[in-house]
């Protein structure tokens, strides 16, 4: 009945509908739903939030208040490789802020930005629990301990090779 469902293009809706169906009627479902959608789309576009709000009859403000509260959620697209520098205490003490600065210079990105080609984005994160290898760089689920900015070229190279391999 609501006109809202048409807010998503057919394909997108096909991907998101099963997610909300799985949680329909369940208590406390907002966060898991958003986590799954972000898992699919890489970020949480406005239309996806409106979709969830209307499908689950939850005010959009409620959804957005959740999204804007948790640092895991992003409302803007992120790069295919998201480089996250840990700024937890152990890493900070071991100079992660310098690492962040240097990476930013090398990649020409500010924290929170995505490279124009959409490949890389730079971000910070708070402690990934690998404090004994501080400072830590995290890309996806991979951790790179005792990381220094001069290792970045090599790392980018291996990322590119992996992409290459994935494509084949």
């Amino acid at each position: 009945m609501t006109t809202e469902t048409s807010i998503l293009e057919g394909e997108l809706q096909a991907r998101l509908q099963p997610i909300v169906e799985r949680y329909r009627g369940k208590r406390g479902a907002v966060i898991p739903v958003l986590q799954e959608i972000q898992g699919v789309l890489g970020y949480l576009p406005r239309k996806a939030l409106i979709f969830v709000a209307t499908e689950l009859s939850i005010p959009l403000a409620e959804i957005y208040s959740v999204v804007s509260f948790y640092s895991q959620f992003s409302t803007v697209p992120v790069g295919r490789h998201r480089l996250e520098v840990c700024t937890g205490t152990a890493c900070y003490v071991k100079g992660s802020h310098q690492l962040l600065e240097e990476l930013g210079e090398k990649l020409n990105l500010e924290p929170g930005q995505v490279s124009p080609d959409g490949r890389l984005s730079l971000a910070t994160t708070r402690c990934v629990g690998a404090c004994s290898m501080a400072p830590v760089l995290k890309i996806g689920e991979e951790l790179y301990g005792e990381f220094t900015a001069d290792k970045i070229e090599q790392l980018l190279g291996s990322l590119a090779r992996r992409e290459e391999a994935d494509r084949e």
Partner: protein, 589 residues
Amino acid sequence: MLKLWIDNQVVEVEEGTSVLEAARKLGIDIPTLCYLKDLNAPAACRVCLVQVEGRPTLDASCILPAQEGMRVHTNTSAVLAARKQMIELFLSDHPFECLTCERNLNCELQRLAKRYGIRDLTVAGSRNHFALDDLSPSVVREPDKCVRCRRCVAVCEYFQSVGIYRMVERSFKAIVGPAYNGSLMETPCIYCGQCITVCPTGALREQDSTAAVWEALQDPDLHVIVQTAPAIRASIGEEFGYPVGTLVTGQMVAALRRLGFDRVFDDCFGADVTVMEEAKELMERLESGGPFPQFTSCCPSWVRFCESFYPQFINNLSEVKSPQQIFGALAKTYYAQQAGINPENIFCVSVMPCVSKKYELLRPEMKASGFQDVDAELTTREFAQMLFQAGIDLKKLPEEEFDSPLGYASGAGVIFGATGGVMEAALRTVYEWVTGKELIDVEYHEVRALEYKDAEIEMGKHRLKVAVARGTGAARRLIEAVLKQQKEYHFVEVMACPAGCVGGGGQPIYIETNDWNEQVAHRSRRAEGLYQQDRLKKHRKSHENPAVIRLYEDFLGHPGSPLAHRLLHTGYNARRLYSPEPILTKAKT
């Protein structure tokens, strides 16, 4: 019952009472900002701090349950200093704009600053700057003045079940607002303005219409007429120091003349016409079998709620326009004709307890006369503001009469301003039409509800199942019950505001209590004035109003006639809830 000591005085209270309420019992007034009893107690502002012996830190008394034997201190120097610092922290992230602020002299933050003697800020620092949202037709948000008390969140969520606001973001930049801290225009806000009435500061206010009205009044080419809603006569007095609920109809009329309006009419006349049409519609539905329930449609906030959240029910909404719009349509046709004035030159103003009417008059359908039927609406507050500006003291004015022909109303039209009023007014007419008998006891107390009430009413061969809901939250519960087939109704009145229009979003803001129920009680006391006027009226049924009879005889024909349809009826559209693209809000300059 349990016993505790507050500032060395003993007090007995019931289990579950907060320390703050216990202190009130002793006449100790602990300051509050976020608290609104029975609606909102997030414990967020920390202004109500007290020291409880044996507890390591200060506590927020508004949510601290009193306990047996507790010893509380509300005015030690540490407590007073801490409260003062809380206020300073607020002020350190607040624009110092009292002089130009809507809530100047009626602001809870300002009062606290005065009460605690803030003279200087011992902490200063950076301030938040959020975009001002003045895009909606009714409500203006100025988040820079927000104290994050969340009262608006509570009233919109729990009372209206619309849920426009939440706390968004976190840390210093956390703010209460709609999703994305965007414009209300992107949301299904129903423009009831209840958030304005509970906001302790100037962060929420209505769109200003006084400038446009002043301008019209100055324009020699315009014939400026005004209609006053039922609820105004029982509330404008408050702004001039009358006790709440005092009827000042005559002075109000005089004041409007002094402001320069060419004709002062009674919107209750419009209400009587609404009753005629709506009663007719109900009879038709009774004959043709529905669709039921028929919902009243004179509250634009409720209409918008239905269009947004329950579009499957838009055919249940009465097709009849609200009194404001009926009046506007008649003013620029019937009245123009009678008075021999070119409707193009008529500027039609309404004075209403409502901020939603500012939105309603802009709805594109509202051009039945060929012009915009109503040109501007003033809330009770704006009306008072204009009187202050013009130096008109209501108390010193004589009582004057409304102009005719749109100035005479029956008692039924007057009680429109209270909840259950629309229903009661309609029932008085429907009863006589259906049964053909005279209704002797015209007062339907069974529908005079503050919250939600239903009743069955004998009406000849029909047993009419009726209900009255106050607040769209109650309306939602009602509709859900209907959807689940737990309830069945023929006729339902919904008013978005607590106690109906007397508690409207444009009424004087009452900050003397931090108790929601007391606030509602205060508002409903205004309804007393309306019922009182009803009792004094010679004509208490709309169809007996001679001015109405004349209107139908001279102009419309009969209720439901083609002309009545064209001028007085309207249609509804399903609405999208959220706009898929952000509508930029203008940054504050």
